[in-house]
């Protein structure tokens, strides 16, 4: 008896329920899909490590006050620029603040920016893209012209100009990043919509009397979502880097709040002798970006329904 044969023998219990060829309810049908997707995801070790990193980031941000060892804002000039030790795990900065606690609290700022930017650029880009692709004609030409214009702006420079005009701060940093972030999603969604638009299931929906809004929302949007989510996850790294860049230039979150970019900025004066001041926040940015990228690559596999 071959191993494959054993594999195919009907499994019992919840596992059998989750792998059923013939689901007996809508809920089970969905559960089977989720289970098979999760199994594909788990088969990719890089994706799992990315997922764990992102999970760690979420946990850190949520539990920051409890896992930080010191007050991230408490200065102590007698303790300035101390190397990593048992007392200060990641050392202290030029004002004697505990770097570990500041990195832990800084994750909140990073996550806030990532979250706000995603919920701005994802929906805006998707909406512009599917409307453009589905209706075509002058709607398409106008929307794509706007997209092209926005795409032509140098991203960081526009964000700088924007923050310079509106004043530094996290909200303005978010708006500045989002302003130039949506066009790739519009392009992606438009290209996908164009490929679905003439397909027979859309024609079938039209001949059943479905309104354009229904077709866009219930037929085309669910098909464009997976690639947008993957793209968004892969874009997170870029968003984090821009946010850190703005922080580095003093245009993001304002001191004394802990923010990874501005922490690197303060550390650059001591880069040679007190390497930990700039390097450890930099490592936090690096690991986080890597985590999102791994996760994004893993999601590509998950969202292909015909691979099962």
């Amino acid at each position: 008896m071959s191993a494959a044969h054993i594999d195919r023998a009907p499994a019992s219990g919840w596992r059998g329920w989750l792998t059923a060829e013939q689901p007996e309810s809508v809920f089970q049908g969905r559960a089977v899909q989720v289970y098979l997707s999760a199994r594909r995801f788990m088969a990719n070790p890089l994706a799992v490590s990315g997922f764990l990193i992102v999970l760690l980031l979420l946990f850190t941000a949520a539990a920051a006050p409890w896992i930080a060892t010191h007050d991230p804002l408490a200065t102590n000039l007698e303790m300035r620029l101390l190397p990593p030790s048992a007392e200060h795990w990641f050392g202290t900065d030029h004002l004697g603040r505990d770097i570990y606690s500041r990195i832990v609290h800084g994750s909140r700022v990073t996550l806030t920016i990532v979250f706000l930017v995603s919920i701005l650029i994802g929906p805006v880009g998707l909406a512009a893209g599917i409307v453009s692709g589905y209706f075509g004609g002058w709607v398409d030409r106008t929307l794509m012209m706007v997209t092209d214009i926005v795409m032509a702006f140098p991203r960081l420079v526009l964000a700088l100009a924007f923050v310079a005009v509106l004043g530094p701060g996290i909200e303005n940093a978010v708006i500045a990043v989002a302003l130039t972030g949506w066009p790739p999603y519009a392009r992606l969604a438009r290209a996908e919509t164009l490929s679905f638009r003439r397909r027979e299931f859309i024609q079938a929906a039209r001949s059943q009397g479905a309104s354009p809004l229904r077709i866009l929302g219930l037929y085309i949007l669910p098909l464009c979502m997976p690639s947008a989510i993957v793209r968004l996850t892969l874009d997170m790294a870029g968003i984090i880097l821009i946010a850190a860049g703005l922080g580095f230039l003093g245009l993001g979150m304002q001191p004394p709040t802990a923010e990874w970019g501005s922490m690197i900025a303060t550390g650059r004066d001591y880069l040679i002798d007190q390497w930990w001041v700039a390097t450890l926040p930099g490592a936090a940015i690096f690991v986080t970006c890597l985590g999102f990228n791994f996760l994004g690559d893993g999601l590509v596999d998950v969202f292909d329904p015909r691979q099962s």
Partner: protein, 253 residues
């Protein structure tokens, strides 16, 4: 004398410079099955899509059950439904079969959906448990049955069929055709059946229209088709091709 189920008068469809349908007129009586045959590119599918409102009518008019020429979305959908050629493309890949069958009912705000979906599935000979499956878990023939169930769930008076079996295996083709014939006999809707296989069309339809390059060439009765007597040289060519194909199939068997 009741009004025609579908009355097409001098219909033309143009895409830019290309004229795909040129001044076609014919009508389908209630309960009748009319075939439309012709080579690919002869405009037969375009006529169906124009009736369904999926292509713009450039000239002439289409009257469905005495309705005004441009009925609103829901009225048209409640009266005419269409089964598409490719069952692999006509079902939404991320909707369950149950959801796909419910959609027309939801769009038209019709209640009792659960029961109607069950009835629709059993009418096309599919087990009721299929409603929790996704299209990719079904075979081509099963998918086409779902598409037929979806088209009939609104109880339309006219059913348009765009080569409903050409994407299926030969063995499955007969099953689907017999199902259509049986449903047609039970429910008495009118059918407009597009095909390129004269044998299939002759099996299904009372009358057959022959199209070439968007022009209606000839109308044949079922008897004439079986007897193989056609006036038009193009029709004869089609008949001859069909006979040769049949001969080849017989020979292979």
């Amino acid at each position: 004398m009741t009004a025609a189920a579908v009355d097409i008068e001098n219909l033309s469809v143009r895409f830019g410079a290309a004229t795909v349908v040129r001044g076609v007129s014919f009508s389908v009586r209630p309960g009748e099955c009319v075939g439309l045959v012709g080579e690919s590119g002869s405009g037969k599918s375009t006529i169906l899509r124009a009736i369904m409102g999926l292509e713009p009518v450039s000239d002439g008019q289409i009257v469905i059950h005495g309705m005004p020429p441009r009925p609103d979305r829901l009225t048209r959908a409640g009266t005419v439904q269409m089964v598409f050629q490719d069952p692999y493309a006509s079902l939404h890949p991320r909707q369950t079969i149950g959801r796909i069958l419910e959609e027309p009912l939801r769009i038209h705000g019709i209640g009792g959906r659960e029961d109607k979906v069950r009835a629709a599935l059993s009418a096309v000979g599919l087990p009721i448990s299929f409603r929790f499956r996704f299209p990719h878990q079904l075979s081509g023939g099963q998918r086409q049955r779902v598409a037929i169930a979806r088209a009939l769930i609104l109880e339309p008076r006219v059913l348009l069929l765009d080569e409903p079996t050409s994407a299926l295996d030969v063995s499955v083709q007969a099953e689907v055709l017999n199902l259509l014939k049986q449903l047609h006999a039970e429910r008495g809707f009118s059918m407009l059946f597009v095909g390129h296989d004269l044998g299939v069309v002759a099996h299904m339809c009372n009358r057959v229209m022959v199209l070439e390059n968007g022009i209606l060439k000839e109308e044949l009765s079922q008897q004439a088709l079986h007897a193989g007597c056609a006036e038009d040289p193009y029709t004869r060519k089609l008949l001859q091709a069909a006979r040769m194909e049949a001969a080849v199939v017989l020979h292979v068997r």
